[in-house]
């Protein structure tokens, strides 16, 4: 969406991630392509089994240890991360690219003080003394809004509330001023009022540090608020990607329609019935052939079971891409009719 042609900070190309298991090969990520611009926020939305978390973790190479088979490219600042060895990746993790996870109560080590864990993050990438790292840690805790950071730095994770723990995790992720932050369900385990605070914090930090963020979540409300662009994932593939406003108002993929229609709204009139998507998310070991969504799609045609849809930009809006086999004119009509 920028007017100047800048190379993107991160470009993921045809990423595929498979896990061999006893029951078969799980195709967690089945060929996804997306870009994140400098200082921009991308939201990746999907339900369980969509592959969104595996995709996020693979960017940092964190799925290698689980025996994943990975192909494709993950280009960060011009370097393909998938081609790097473990040592090189370790230099990038927590440094230029940082990641925060879902449940702050289990994501911090219970037996070490919070301050010590952040100091460790600092000293892993910066050649500073313990005292300097501690000073930086206290600064960071203050930056993320933890009151009385000079004392709290010596507390253990269980002495923090849920919201504070997530703030501490964010502080730890920002320790080395990363250019990209990947947040995997950062607010799912938190209460609504705390969620709002954490999202506001992330937004503020992004603006102050010029950081790009990738938010992975199942909650459309979260990406609606935070993201510049949204990618919708289903069964390991991206089915639609567009600027936030466009996706929410003029979605083009039947799964996106289904998602938007099945969520109860806070504003607007109270509906008689929600419109669920029939059926359940597919198994990733044996996903449906052709378009993965066709068994649950109201508008599926027989040959949708044979052909794999490609994620293609719309002719009149190149920033809006859809992977659907339906004819574009017909899609527009269907959406307009249902609204």
């Amino acid at each position: 969406m920028s007017t100047v042609e800048e190379p993107p900070l991160l470009r993921v190309e045809d990423l595929r991630v498979e896990f061999p298991t006893e029951d078969g090969v799980v195709k967690a990520v089945d060929g996804i392509t997306y870009e994140v611009g400098r200082g921009r926020t991308l939201g990746i939305v999907g339900e369980s089994g969509s592959g969104k978390t595996v995709a996020a973790m693979t960017v940092l190479g964190l799925t290698r240890v689980q025996g994943a088979r990975i192909s494709g490219r993950v280009v960060f600042e011009g370097v393909d991360l998938l081609g790097l060895d473990e040592g090189a990746l370790q230099r990038i993790r927590g440094n230029e690219i940082a990641m925060i996870f879902q449940d702050p109560s289990t994501a911090l080590h219970p037996l070490y003080k919070v301050g010590a864990q952040i100091v460790e993050a600092v000293r892993a990438h910066q050649d500073v003394t313990k005292a300097a790292a501690r000073k930086r840690t206290i600064e960071l805790l203050g930056l993320v809004g933890i009151p009385d950071p000079g004392t709290r730095v010596d507390d253990y994770p269980h002495e923090f509330s849920g919201g504070m723990r997530q703030r501490a995790m964010i502080a730890m992720a920002l320790a080395n001023e990363p250019r990209l932050l990947i947040a995997d369900e950062p607010t799912t385990a938190l209460d609504v009022t705390v969620q709002a605070q954490i999202l506001a914090l992330l937004e503020r930090l992004r603006a102050e540090l010029g950081m790009a963020i990738v938010i992975v979540t199942h909650d459309i409300g979260v990406v609606a608020e935070m993201a510049d662009e949204i990618a919708v994932m289903y069964a390991g593939r991206i089915v639609e990607m567009a600027a936030t406003e466009t996706l929410l108002n003029r979605p083009e993929h039947p799964y996106t329609w289904g998602l938007l229609r099945s969520i109860p709204k806070l504003d607007g009139p109270r509906l008689e019935r929600l419109e669920p998507i029939k059926g359940s998310p597919p198994s990733l070991i044996d996903p449906p052939s052709g378009c993965h969504f066709h068994p649950r799609c109201e508008y599926a045609q027989p040959d949708h079971a044979r052909i794999d849809p490609e994620l293609l930009p719309l002719p009149d809006d190149p920033s809006h891409s859809v992977a659907c086999l339906l004819e574009p004119q017909m899609r527009r009509k269907l959406w307009e009719e249902s609204v």
Binding site: L62, Q90, N95, F101, D103, A107, H109, L111, A124
Partner: protein
């Protein structure tokens, strides 16, 4: 925190009192023979036996005996007199403690030094050939009875009767102070035998504990911070995995301090275990009682130590 410790200590003392009382009851019930008669020796006249019985206070009422007994143990630390060795029980135990301590400490060092790393590597390489071989070997050593291992070891390696004469044989133990080198060499084989089974146990324990720990979310966070895998495994993984193992270690040590009976018997090491064994065979009740009490004491103390240590090892425990 101090309240926690005080509470633990008080319960510990209560437990010891209960154990002592229980033993008093047990030994009165067991059909092991009249202590006075045993003490008097063969062919003693009834008058002598009666005199001894009076000496031992066995002609008093049971509650009176119980009261004297408890007072003796807890206020005077008087554990009675061994009829077989003709010496105070307390003295016998004090003499033998050194040997048991030497045996146990050396054994523990070896089994930890071998078992823990094997367990760690097995956990990290689960399913690999290395893992399967080491766990298989561990299974063999866990299953093998100590006395069998001891006898095999002597048969193979003892200087006097062995095939390959490397180590000193049974009965060669001397105290540390009298001859350090002989002390050390005489303990090598017993240490290895004692450690074999335990190393196997600890390897399996560590493997299980670390495997579980490495699946935790905070390990993922540690990797995401860009830490080296070595640091992730040792400072984040093993640090958590070792807690339950330390609990077990404390209890193992306490149990062994009460006498590693089988190893001491096979190698003829004059420790608490051998003392207890001999006393049982000769119905030397008071000695048996003494060793049981000692064992109970060690276990109670170990439990308290573990409970307190856990509060340092796991900060979450401090507030419950």
């Amino acid at each position: 925190m101090t309240r926690y410790i005080i509470r633990r200590v008080l319960w510990g003392i209560l437990l010891l009192i209960l154990v002592t009382a229980l033993m008093f009851v047990l030994f009165r019930i067991l059909p092991t023979g009249d202590p006075a008669r045993l003490r008097a020796g063969r062919n003693a006249s009834p008058k002598v036996i009666a005199a001894i019985r009076h000496d031992l206070g066995l002609d008093k009422s049971l509650p009176a005996q119980f009261w004297i007994y408890m007072k003796d143990v807890f206020l005077h630390f008087n554990l009675g007199y061994s009829y077989y060795s003709n010496a105070p029980v307390r003295g016998l135990i004090a003499e033998r403690l050194g040997a048991t301590l030497s045996l146990m400490l050396g054994g523990a060092v070896i089994w930890l030094a071998v078992g823990l790393p094997v367990g760690i590597v097995s956990a990290l390489r689960r399913g690999s050939r290395l893992d399967r071989v080491s766990m298989g070997t561990a299974l063999v050593f866990v299953s093998a009875p100590e006395y069998w291992l001891g006898l095999i070891a002597l048969y193979l390696f003892a200087a006097d009767i062995g095939q390959v004469k490397i180590f000193p044989g049974a009965g060669s133990y001397v105290g540390l102070t009298s001859d350090p080198w002989k002390w050390f060499t005489s303990l090598l084989l017993p240490w290895l035998v004692l450690a074999a089974g335990s190393a196997a146990v600890y390897a399996r324990l560590m493997r299980g504990s670390l495997t579980e720990t490495m699946g935790e979310d905070y390990i993922r966070t540690a990797r995401a911070k860009g830490l080296s895998e070595r640091r992730v495994v040792l400072r984040h993984g093993v640090r958590s995995a070792i807690n339950p193992i330390l609990t077990i270690l404390a209890l193992d040590i306490a149990t062994l301090l009460g006498g590693a009976i089988l190893v001491e018997v096979v190698f003829d090491i004059h420790g608490i275990g051998l003392l207890a064994y001999t006393a049982i065979r000769h119905s030397d009740l008071l000695v048996v009682q003494g060793t049981v009490l000692l064992g109970a004491l060690f276990i109670v103390v170990a439990n308290i130590v573990v409970d307190i240590a856990y509060a340092y090892l796991d900060p979450r425990v401090r507030y419950s």
